[in-house]
Amino acid sequence: MDSTALAAVLQEAAPGAAIEPAPTADLHTTIYVSADDLPAVAQALRDRPDLAFDFLAEITAADYWPRQPRYEVVYVLVSIANRLRLRVKVRLPADDPHVATVCRIWPAANWLEREVWDLFGIAFDGHPDPRRLLMPEDWDGFPLRKDYPVQIRKTPNAGQPLQVTEEEFRQNVMKDRLTRG
């Protein structure tokens, strides 16, 4: 089933939801879903027998800073019965990114969502245990955000977050980065 066909099936299963098929480089079936419609779409994806995406392989996110909308949360789903694979993506804004949890639909989402919160600062509404997972509890900032400082020489200052200007962030992220063409 390709992205367009799947989007049509989902449109029927979750009426009114904003679903758009997305072209990807690896020709993987991919759809974009708006953050508000995610719970309804996720429920339909798991429960409809012709879809039956019962295995949630992965939840992750990517930070496309400084582009808007800045974040994309990615759900990698597998339907074992129908031998289908699907990527569901949710676009989130830079300010207060949050999306509903899918823990009640796929229990595996619990730690995966905690990891995304920990490293990207994307909140999952209704999550049963919204704590950091990998970083220490008192950590400042979200390390996988693109504006989180890397390779910057600063004297360590315990208890104080690192402060750098936006210009320094930008230069640092773009450092040595070649663009095609």
């Binding site: 480089a25 690896d26 993987h28 019962d54 295995f55 392989a57 990517a62 990615v74 074992i80 950091r132």
Partner: protein, 385 residues
């Protein structure tokens, strides 16, 4: 009573910490704490060139280095739109299956030792040593060979490699019978493992425990069969399954997988021709052979460009799943069109296994906790990354 188990407990496979609440010997609650081994590999990878990420990802799941780097390279090849030669695919199949044997041997040894069969550890590590010798022959590095490359392999197989693998494959089935003699019908081992840490098929899939754990509960999901890659659909092998979903079933599944992996290795060895392509013929990605670098100007320029600037990858994202020793494994990679990855995310089967630990051990006995941790085969490097 509350017991703090780990992070330096010898049977927690690294630095897993469990806070267990006990009533007598029964476990009332369990709170796993992870993150002691978090090294920020995913953040580091964003600062590296594509080729430089390979040694990093091998160090995530340190018992399946070849599968990790293969999964990463396949995702990047997908973005580049590369078709690697069939010979490379066959060599990758061979190496991935040897890696699976390697990883399962470490699992068998440590799990056996934890439930009291110390001799199994000594036996399994004896054979694993031979596999590490093969890695040394291949790349000069025993644990993390960094032999996979985007677009193929670093160099051709060394002379005598096929004979060494053949010798190993001849020796291994007999040794496997030896391990089975020690455990499969061992009364003490059966008592420690049967009916312990049971998980149903539906639960295993809902909790993302695909791989040997779900197969021990009756699911036949195996990426090699369901979404074949590298030509696995042309290999003749079975996916061993069990139905009970306890620690003993996981043992049976993994031992049967060892035999199946050897079967695949034999078939792959037959297909690999002694000489041929070991990487795609693309001057942007594959470095020229060393003898040409010293004699030809173009080759020198090409060599210099690849090693100083790397290569650019078209913008987009890709995820290619492979069947690692612990279940579905894969890398979600995002490129912005430059010579460095924008985002690298590893799907870590161990993380999900660790998450489900609470369900597997609450209500059981504290002595069973160790058998269960051993049976889900977590690698803390993969959990924390």
């Amino acid at each position: 009573m509350t017991v703090n188990m780990g992070p330096q407990h010898p049977s927690t496979h690294g630095v897993l910490r469990l806070v267990l609440e006990l009533d007598g010997e029964t476990v009332l609650s369990c709170a796993p704490t992870i993150g002691y081994l978090h090294t920020g590999i995913e953040k580091t990878a964003e600062q590296k060139k594509w080729q430089q990420v390979i040694p990093l990802v091998e160090r995530m799941d340190y018992l399946s280095a070849q599968s990790n780097s293969m999964a990463f390279c396949m995702s990047v090849e997908k973005l580049l739109g590369l078709e690697v030669p069939q010979r490379v695919r066959d060599i990758r199949v061979l190496l991935a299956e040897l890696q699976r044997i390697n990883s399962h041997l470490v699992w068998l040894g440590t799990h056996g030792m934890e439930v009291g069969a110390v001799s199994v550890m000594l036996y399994a590590f004896r054979e694993r040593e031979l596999l590490l010798n093969l890695n040394e022959m291949l790349a000069g590095f025993r644990l993390f060979p960094s032999y996979m490359r985007v677009g193929g392999l670093r160099e051709d197989l060394p002379r005598g490699f096929d004979d060494a693998v053949k010798a190993f494959l001849e020796r291994m089935p007999l040794k496997l019978d030896e391990y089975e003699d020690l455990l499969t019908k061992n009364e003490i081992y059966l008592k420690r493992t049967q009916g312990v840490g049971v998980v149903s098929q539906a639960d295993a899939i809902a909790w993302g425990l695909v791989g040997p754990i779900a197969r021990a509960a009756g699911s036949d999901y195996d990426v090699r069969k369901y979404f074949p890659y590298n030509g696995y659909e042309t290999y003749d092998f079975n996916v061993p399954t069990q139905t009970k979903g306890d620690v003993y079933s996981r043992y049976l599944v993994r031992v049967a997988e060892l035999r199946e992996s050897m079967k695949i290795c034999r078939q792959a060895l037959e297909r690999i021709s002694p000489a041929g392509a070991y990487a795609v013929d693309d001057p942007r990605i594959t470095p020229p052979p060393k003898d040409k670098v010293y004699t030809e100007m173009e080759a020198l320029i090409q060599h210099f460009l690849i090693y100083s600037q790397g290569f650019t990858v078209p913008a987009g994202d890709a995820y290619v799943p492979v069947e690692g020793p612990r279940g579905e494994q894969g890398f979600y990679v995002v490129s912005d069109g430059s010579n460095r990855p924008w985002r690298v995310k590893s799907r870590a089967p161990s993380l999900l296994a660790c998450q489900a630990l609470e369900r597997l051990i609450v209500g059981g006995l504290i002595a069973d906790v160790i058998a269960v941790i051993g049976s889900i085969d977590v690698v803390m490097g993969d959990v924390d990354r």
